[in-house]
């Protein structure tokens, strides 16, 4: 019984570590997608000058804006979401120069967050996995 419990605790701790590591890489992936999406929308506004609903229908991405709301943003932090919301709110509300500046400002803000996310991912993803496994092993040994 104790062995089964120990194995379960070990597995849970290891899984927790792995999930934390996945969340870190997921954030990097989502932020990159958002950045690319904003860039493509900005390019469409600048070059095609089509109306926003038409542009948003045309730019395909797994993270996207629908009816003024970002979709599929699970895995992003509050600070990331605040940048995305600010972008969605200001989208289409100004002249072309304003839209270009708006796109650039939000891309710069996302770049800073992305740098931070990549950094954390590099530093912490292995650490989280190792910590999860070690903690699990430690608790399992104590139980046994």
């Amino acid at each position: 019984m104790a062995v089964i419990g120990a194995v379960m605790i070990f597995a849970s701790c290891a899984l927790f570590g792995v999930l934390e590591a996945v969340a870190l890489s997921q954030r990097v992936k989502k932020l990159t997608l958002c950045r690319n999406y904003i860039m493509r929308v900005g390019e469409e506004i600048r070059h095609s000058r089509k109306e926003l609903p038409e542009i948003l229908r045309g730019v395909k991405s797994s993270v996207y804006i629908e009816n003024g709301v970002w979709q599929n943003t699970a895995g992003l932090k509050d600070e990331d979401l605040s940048v995305l919301y600010s972008y969605a709110e200001s989208l289409g509300t100004t002249d072309i120069d304003g839209q270009i500046k708006n796109t650039n400002v939000h891309i710069e803000r996302l770049d800073i967050l992305l740098c931070d996310a990549v950094d954390k991912n590099k530093k912490c993803s292995r650490l989280y996995v190792s910590l999860g496994v070690l903690c699990g092993a430690f608790l399992a040994i104590i139980i046994i």
């Binding site: 089509k50 926003l52 289409g92 100004t94 002249d95």
Partner: protein, 308 residues
């Protein structure tokens, strides 16, 4: 009856940018009021006012309209004005940038919204007033003037809301369809043809080409060079350059039908642009409309030029 239904539909189609509650109140107005309404005036922190038969009319929250203030009039909040402005632009202010700099937004279904606010180099901000002008397509409205058209130029003049654009649109349709004239319309504010996705929403005839969104003088030049029209039609002549382009057309065998804002008939010779146009010989007939849209006076341009 069919015309009335269409006019009611016209009114309803001009409400799409308003907040839902405002739309509901206006949609519930009696058809008589909807038909007679030419403008919806929205001002920040002020009541919503309709222009009905040239006079201001209040609208109550319960969906009634009166020339006297009702118990609970619809008020337009400052944030609602901004919301309406963004909706009018279809959340794409940048696509209407050039129009906004000139103080208007082309709406769907040929309606037009005038906007007031703080002007800066990039456009207008802090929008405080919006005036939605309801387009009216009335087939047969040009019947009275079409027989007077002699193939040379025609100027339709009248005060605001006298029906100049409505008559111009129908004249274009009749000349194109019934008389087989090759016409190019310079629709700088999208009010005549209301082209949407390359198709005119208003009936302007089968033999009509449309240049939308261009400056009138530039559009005229483009039409003369590329479309080989017999007649060029555009709304509201206002600059000397447009007169120059009309004269270019005159000497290339192209006649013009245009409109002009005037207070009364004599303004035609007092306004420098219309005075010059009449003297140029490009106009043969002058149609003067009164404010209510009832009386139509058709005069020879030469007779008008002699007024001083």
């Amino acid at each position: 009856m069919e015309d009335e239904k269409k006019l009611v539909k016209n009114f309803d189609s001009a409400l799409y940018a308003l907040p839902i509650k405002m739309q509901e109140c206006l949609l519930s107005l009696p058809p008589k009021i909807k038909i007679a309404t030419s403008e919806i005036r929205l001002r920040a922190d002020k009541p919503l006012i309709l222009t009905v038969g040239g006079a201001p009319m209040w609208v109550g929250k319960e969906g009634v309209a009166d020339y006297l203030p009702p118990k609970s009039p619809i008020f337009v909040a400052a944030n609602e004005i901004n919301e309406i402005y963004i909706n009018l632009c279809n959340h794409s202010v940048y696509t209407h940038e050039d129009e906004i700099k000139q103080g208007f937004i082309m709406m769907k279904h040929a309606h037009r919204a005038g906007v007031c606010g703080t002007v800066f180099s990039g456009g207008v901000r802090d929008i405080c007033s919006i005036n939605i002008r309801i387009a009216k397509e009335i087939k047969g409205s040009a019947d009275r003037i079409i027989s007077a058209f002699d193939g040379k130029g025609m100027l339709i003049a009248g005060p605001p809301s006298s029906g100049k654009t409505t008559i111009l649109r129908d004249a274009v349709r009749q000349l194109s369809e019934n008389f087989g004239k090759r016409i190019t319309v310079i629709d700088s504010r999208g009010e005549i043809a209301a082209v949407s996705c390359a198709i005119p929403e208003n009936d302007i005839g089968v033999n009509t080409d449309v240049i939308t969104g261009a400056e009138k003088a530039d559009g005229l030049l483009c039409a003369l060079r590329t479309m080989a029209p017999q007649i060029v039609a555009f709304d509201e002549i206002s600059t000397e350059r447009e007169v120059d382009m009309i004269m270019e057309g005159l000497h290339s065998g192209v006649s013009v039908i245009t409109t002009a804002h005037i207070g009364e008939g004599r303004d035609l010779v007092k306004r420098p642009v219309t005075a010059r146009l009449l003297k140029s010989g490009a106009i043969s007939k002058v149609v003067i409309l009164n404010r209510v849209g009832g009386n139509v006076e058709i005069l020879n341009a030469k007779d008008v030029t002699s007024w001083q």
